[in-house]
C-alpha cells in the first residue's frame, strides 16, 4: 500500500505491506535504524517514536496507520549536529550504558517533558516506567531528565557543558 508521511521534517513515501510495523518500516525502508526493537510486543518501549506529538510504540503500530502523520525519531532530534537539551543532559549525567534502550527513553522523555516541563522525580519515574533499561538501575536516566527539565526551566542555565568529553555533572547521590 502506498503511503506518504512526514518523518523528521521531510516528506517520505513508501509501499509497505499492510502487515509491516511502523518500526520495521522506519528501520528497513527508511534506513532509520536508531529506533530499536526490544520486545516487539509493546512492553519495553525501546521502539518509542513520536507520532503527531504523542509517544507511541512503533512495534505496535502498522506503517500504513502512519500515513499522513508527522513522525519524529531519535534521528530527528539532533539533525543540525547539535545535541538537544535533553540529550546533552543525559550525556552529562552518564545516563546510559549499552545504549540499546536509549532511543526509546529519549523519545518518551522528549514527549513527556514537552507536556510536563515542571515534572518532578516521581512523575518522571512514572512517565518512564513503561521503558525498560537493563543496565543502569534507572537513577542516572532520571537524573538526566531532571537536569534537562531544570536547564529548560532556568533563564540562566546551569554551568554550560563542554562540547567535547569533559567532567560529568555532579552525581545527585546523597540525600
Amino acid at each position: 500500500m502506498d503511503i506518504t508521511l512526514r518523518v523528521n521534517g521531510a516528506t517520505r513515501t513508501g509501499s509497505p505491506e499492510a502487515r509491516k510495523t511502523l518500526a520495521d518500516f522506519l528501520r528497513d525502508d527508511l534506513d532509520l535504524t536508531g529506533t530499536h526493537l526490544g520486545c516487539e510486543h509493546g512492553v519495553c518501549g525501546a521502539c518509542t517514536v513520536i507520532v503527531d506529538g504523542r509517544a507511541v510504540r512503533s512495534c505496535l503500530m502498522l506503517a500504513v496507520q502512519a500515513a499522513g502523520c508527522e513522525v519524529t525519531t531519535i534521528e530527528g532530534l539532533a539533525a543540525d549536529g547539535e545535541l538537544g537539551t535533553l540529550q546533552q543532559a543525559l550525556w552529562d549525567s552518564h545516563s546510559f550504558q549499552c545504549g540499546f534502550c536509549t532511543p526509546g527513553f529519549v523519545m518518551q522523555a522528549v514527549a513527556f517533558l514537552g507536556a510536563h516541563p515542571d515534572a518532578g522525580e516521581q512523575q518522571i519515574r512514572e512517565a518512564l516506567s513503561g521503558n525498560i533499561c537493563r543496565c543502569t538501575g534507572y537513577e542516572s536516566i532520571i537524573d538526566g531528565v531532571l537536569l534537562a527539565a531544570q536547564r529548560s526551566a532556568s533563564p540562566h542555565p546551569a554551568a554550560p557543558t563542554q562540547a567535547g568529553p569533559g567532567r560529568a555533572a555532579p552525581a545527585n547521590r546523597e540525600r
Binding site: 531519535i74 534521528e75 540529550q87 550525556w91 545504549g99 532511543p103 543502569t136 534507572y138
Partner: protein, 782 residues
C-alpha cells in the same frame, strides 16, 4: 600550553565518548547491519519439552515465494562439523559430554529447541515459511525438575549419557569437617534454593553471516562479548580455516554473560549463509530470547552449619544440585566456582562441599552476571538464619566472623589468599551511613501502626581478577594483550580484545592511556570488535578493570618510551631529558623545544633511518594482572512489606564498595546500580517459570517481569579504596558485585520485616503472592 601538567583523567567521571552516537540513534548494533543481497532467517522451534523427532518436512516452506532455503537439522548437520560446546571445550571441561546437533535431529529437549531454519527475503517471509514446516513428534516424558532428573529412572535427554547427570556427584572437604561439626555447640540444617532467572539484555542474540563463495571467506557480524571466542566456535563447527574467517562486532546491546561464543542458532545461520552464498541475518525476538537463549541459577543447597553459642561460624557442609537445563554450557562448571567462593571473607575452619549437575527439559544454563552468585546468597542467608536462631544482630555476626586483615593475608579455606579484602571496613562504613539504632526505633513505631519495615545487610567478595597466586592473578582466562600505536594524526590507538556491551571501555581505557602517554583524552581511540586487528580477549568475569586497565597503562608507558626514544634522535636530545605532556614531546625545562606527537609520528613515517633507530611507533603489550586483588563490599536495604498485598517496596539502598582505585566513578556507580537493580528484580519480580509439562510460562515481558523506574530506588554509594596491592594497577572489576549481593540483602531485609510473624525464608524469589503465602504459613491465625 606546553609545560603545564595536563589534568588527570583517571579517577574522574569523564563523560563517555560512546554517548554522542548512542544518544542520536547513530549506534550500530547487529540488527542495523544491512548488506547487499542479505537474507533473513527464522527458526522453527519445538512446542514440546521432550519428544522424538519422527520427521521434518520443509518442502512446503521451500516452495513459498521469497523463501530461499529451508533446512532441517539433518541437512544442516551434513554441512557442519560435529563437536562439543565450544565454551566448555575452551574451558577444559572433562566431564560428561552430551552428543547433540546444531538443530534438533533425533530429539527435541526443551520448548523452543530449534528444529529447522528458514531463510527468506525478509523476516516476515521467513516466519511465513516456518509456519509451513511440518514436524512430527513422538512425546517423551518431560524431565522438568532436578529431583526427577536425579532419578535413574528418568528418561535420559542424551542417549550417549544414559542418564541425566551433567556433572557427576563429587565431594571435597577442606579442614577437618567431622571434628569441627563434632565440637560445635550448635548444628543447624537449612535447605536454601535459588530460582531460575535470566540475563534479558535489551538487545537479544543475533548475527549477520556473510559467506563469499568466490573467496571462500566468511565474515560474521556478531553481538558478542568476544569476537575471538565467536570465531573459535564458528571455525570449529563450520570447518573454516582461521584465516578465512573474520568476526566483527559494533555496539552490543547488553549481555550479562549471555553472548559468549556463538550459539547453536548463530552457527546455523553461518551454515545457511554458506549454503545460500548470500549474507543471512538472524536477530532473535523477545520470545526466542526468553524461552531459548538460556537461563541461569536454578540451584538448591542443603546446608549444615556448625556454630558456637557465641555465633562463630565454624564449619559448613553443603550439598548443591544445579539444574543445567537441556544443552551443555556453563552450568556443569558452576559448582566448582561456588565451591571455591563459598567461604567468602569469613574465617571458616571446615567446609564440606558436594555437588551434582543434572540435565532437564528446560532452556540451557548460561552464564549470568556472577555465575557463582548462589554461594553469596546461601552464605549470607544462612548467616542471618543463624543470627536469628542465636538472637544476634546481623552486622555483629558478620563482623565476628570476618577474617582479620593480616600480613601475610588470611587464606580462604579453599585456597586463595584474602589479600586486601576490606569486608570489615565496608560493614563498618555501612553502620556509619545507616543509623541502625534509629531504624530499629522507627521499625518498632511502624510495627505498632501495623506497618512492616525491615533492614537487611549482606556482604560479598569478587575475584576481580583475584589475588596473585601460583597461576597468577589473571586466573584461567590468562594474560591480557593490547596493541598500541601512535598514528600520524597524533592519535594513540588502543587495539583491545575487550568487547564492550555497556562497560564504557572506549572511555575508561582512553582515560588511563591518555594520562600515562601524555595526550588529551580526545587523542586516544579504542578499537574493538574485529578479529583481524584486535588481540584475543573477552569482556566478562569483571576482569577488564584490572587486566585491560593494566595493559592500557603499561602499554601506554611502553609506547611513550618508544616515542621518546625516537624523538630523542629527531631532537638530538637525551631521552632522559624528554617528556610528553598534553600531546607534545619537549625537553624538560625548555617549552620552546615542544614538538607535537603527531609531528613526531609523521617524521617517523616519512623518514629513512639507520638500523639503530626504531621508527615503528607501535607496541604489543601484555599484562598478567600484577598483584591482582578482590573487589568487595557490603550492602544494606530497608524495605517496607505490605502484609495485605504482599508488595515489597525498597525504601532505601546503601552500598559501601571497594573496587580499588576508580577509573571513572560514574561508570563504576552505573555498574553497581545496574547490578543491584537486577538483584532486586531477581527477588521481587523475575522468574523463568515452567509448568509440569515443561512449557515455559515466562515467554513475554508480560510474564517475565524486569524492574522498571518505579521499582528501583536511588542507590547510595560510598567508595572505599583501602588497600593498594600493586605498584600501579589497583583498579578492580565491579561488574558482578551488585548482582551477587543484592538478592541476599533484599531477602534479609524482607525476613527482618516479617519477623513479627516468625517468617523464615529459604528461597530467593519473593513476589507478592509468595510473601502472602509465607505470612499465612508462619502465622495461620492471621
Amino acid at each position: 600550553m606546553t609545560g603545564i601538567a595536563a589534568e588527570r583523567y583517571t579517577g574522574a567521571s569523564i563523560k563517555r565518548s560512546e554517548d554522542p552516537r548512542i544518544l542520536t540513534g547513530a549506534g550500530r548494533y547487529v540488527d542495523d547491519i544491512k548488506l547487499p543481497g542479505m537474507l533473513h532467517a527464522a527458526f522453527v522451534r519445538s512446542p514440546l519439552a521432550h519428544a522424538r523427532v519422527l520427521s521434518v518436512d520443509v518442502s512446503a516452506a521451500r516452495a513459498l515465494p521469497g523463501v530461499v532455503a529451508a533446512l532441517s537439522g539433518a541437512e544442516l548437520e551434513a554441512m557442519t562439523v560435529p563437536g562439543p560446546d565450544a565454551l566448555m571445550a575452551l574451558m577444559g571441561w572433562a566431564g560428561p559430554t552430551p552428543e547433540f546437533t546444531l538443530l534438533a535431529t533425533d530429539k527435541v529437549r526443551f520448548v523452543g529447541d530449534p528444529v529447522a531454519v528458514v531463510v527468506a527475503e525478509s523476516r516476515y517471509l521467513a516466519e511465513d515459511g516456518c509456519e509451513l514446516v511440518e514436524v512430527e513428534y513422538d512425546d517423551l516424558p518431560p524431565v522438568v525438575s532436578a529431583s526427577f532428573a536425579l532419578d535413574p529412572g528418568s528418561p535420559p535427554l542424551f542417549a550417549n549419557l544414559g542418564d541425566n547427570i551433567a556433572r557427576p556427584h563429587s565431594r571435597r572437604e577442606f579442614g577437618d569437617v567431622a571434628a569441627v561439626f563434632a565440637g560445635a555447640d550448635r548444628v543447624f540444617d537449612f535447605r536454601v534454593g535459588v530460582h531460575r532467572h535470566q540475563n534479558v539484555p535489551m538487545e537479544g542474540r543475533g548475527c549477520v553471516a556473510s559467506y563469499d563463495p568466490g573467496q571462500g571467506t566468511m565474515t560474521v557480524y556478531a553481538a558478542t562479548q568476544s569476537v575471538h571466542v565467536s570465531k573459535i566456535a564458528v571455525a570449529m563447527r563450520l570447518g573454516i580455516e582461521q584465516d578465512k574467517l573474520r568476526v566483527l562486532a559494533g555496539d552490543v546491546g547488553g549481555s550479562f554473560g549471555l553472548k559468549i561464543g556463538a550459539s547453536r542458532e548463530e552457527l546455523a545461520v553461518a551454515a545457511a549463509s554458506r549454503a545460500a552464498g548470500r549474507p543471512v541475518k538472524w536477530v532473535e525476538d523477545r520470545t526466542e530470547n526468553l524461552i531459548a537463549s538460556g537461563q541461569a541459577r536454578e540451584e538448591s543447597f542443603d546446608v549444615r552449619a556448625a556454630v558456637s553459642n557465641d555465633g562463630d561460624l565454624l564449619g559448613l557442609d553443603v550439598t548443591m544440585v544445579i539444574d543445567t537445563g537441556a544443552y551443555p554450557g556453563m552450568g556443569a562448571m558452576v559448582p566448582a566456582i561456588v565451591e571455591a567462593m563459598l567461604p567468602g571473607p569469613y574465617k571458616l575452619a571446615a567446609l564440606g562441599f558436594e555437588s551434582t549437575g543434572v540435565t532437564t527439559n528446560k532452556a540451557s544454563y548460561v552464564a549470568y552476571r556472577g555465575p557463582w552468585a548462589s554461594e553469596t546468597f546461601v552464605r549470607e542467608r544462612v548467616l542471618d538464619l543463624i543470627a536469628a536462631e542465636l538472637g544476634l544482630d546481623p552486622v555483629e555476626i558478620r563482623l565476628r566472623n570476618v577474617a582479620p586483615r593480616t600480613d601475610p593475608p588470611a587464606v580462604m579455606l579453599t585456597g586463595r589468599p584474602l589479600a586486601g579484602v576490606t569486608t570489615r571496613e565496608s560493614l563498618e562504613r555501612l553502620t556509619e551511613l545507616v543509623d541502625f539504632p534509629a531504624f530499629r526505633r522507627r521499625q518498632a513505631e511502624a510495627r505498632a501502626r501495623g506497618q512492616y519495615l525491615g533492614i537487611g545487610v549482606a556482604t560479598f567478595i569478587e575475584a576481580a581478577p583475584g589475588p596473585r597466586s601460583a597461576e597468577g592473578p589473571s586466573g584461567p582466562m590468562g594474560m591480557e594483550a593490547m596493541r598500541l600505536r601512535l598514528t600520524e594524526d597524533g592519535i594513540v590507538v588502543l587495539f583491545t580484545g575487550q568487547m564492550p556491551h555497556g562497560q564504557s571501555h572506549q572511555t575508561t581505557l582512553a582515560q588511563i592511556a591518555a594520562d600515562e602517554f601524555g595526550v588529551p583524552f580526545e587523542q586516544v581511540r579504542v578499537v574493538v570488535g574485529d578479529t583481524d586487528v584486535v588481540p584475543f580477549g573477552l569482556t566478562g568475569g569483571s576482569r577488564s578493570a584490572t587486566m585491560t586497565g593494566g595493559v592500557a597503562l603499561h602499554g601506554a608507558r611502553q609506547l611513550r618510551a618508544k616515542v621518546i626514544d625516537f624523538a630523542a634522535h629527531l631532537m638530538e636530545a637525551s631521552a632522559r631529558d624528554l617528556q610528553i605532556t598534553d600531546g607534545n614531546v619537549w625537553v624538560r625545562g625548555d617549552p620552546a623545544s615542544a614538538i607535537a606527537v603527531a609531528e613526531v609520528a609523521r617524521r617517523a613515517a616519512a623518514g629513512q633511518f639507520g638500523a639503530d633507530v626504531d621508527a615503528e611507533l607501535e607496541v604489543e603489550a601484555a599484562f598478567d594482572g600484577g598483584e591482582g586483588g578482590w573487589s568487595g563490599g557490603s550492602h544494606c536495604a530497608i524495605v517496607e512489606v505490605d502484609v495485605e498485598t504482599g508488595i515489597v517496596r525498597v525504601q532505601r539502598y546503601v552500598v559501601a564498595e571497594d573496587c580499588g582505585a576508580l577509573i571513572n566513578p560514574a561508570v563504576v556507580e552505573g555498574q553497581i546500580r545496574g547490578g543491584v537493580a537486577q538483584g532486586i528484580g531477581a527477588v521481587l519480580l523475575e522468574r523463568s517459570a515452567y509448568d509440569e509439562d515443561g512449557n515455559c510460562q515466562s515467554a513475554t515481558f508480560m510474564d517475565y517481569l524486569v524492574p522498571t523506574a518505579c521499582d528501583v530506588p536511588r542507590i547510595e554509594i560510598a567508595h572505599l579504596e583501602t588497600v593498594p596491592l600493586d605498584a600501579d594497577v589497583n583498579f578492580r572489576g565491579v561488574g558482578e558485585g551488585g548482582m551477587l549481593v543484592a538478592p541476599p540483602t533484599v531477602v534479609n531485609a524482607i525476613e527482618d520485616a516479617l519477623a513479627p510473624f516468625g517468617v523464615r525464608i529459604y528461597e530467593q524469589h519473593l513476589p507478592p503472592s509468595r510473601i502472602l503465602e509465607l505470612i499465612a504459613a508462619a502465622d495461620p491465625g492471621r
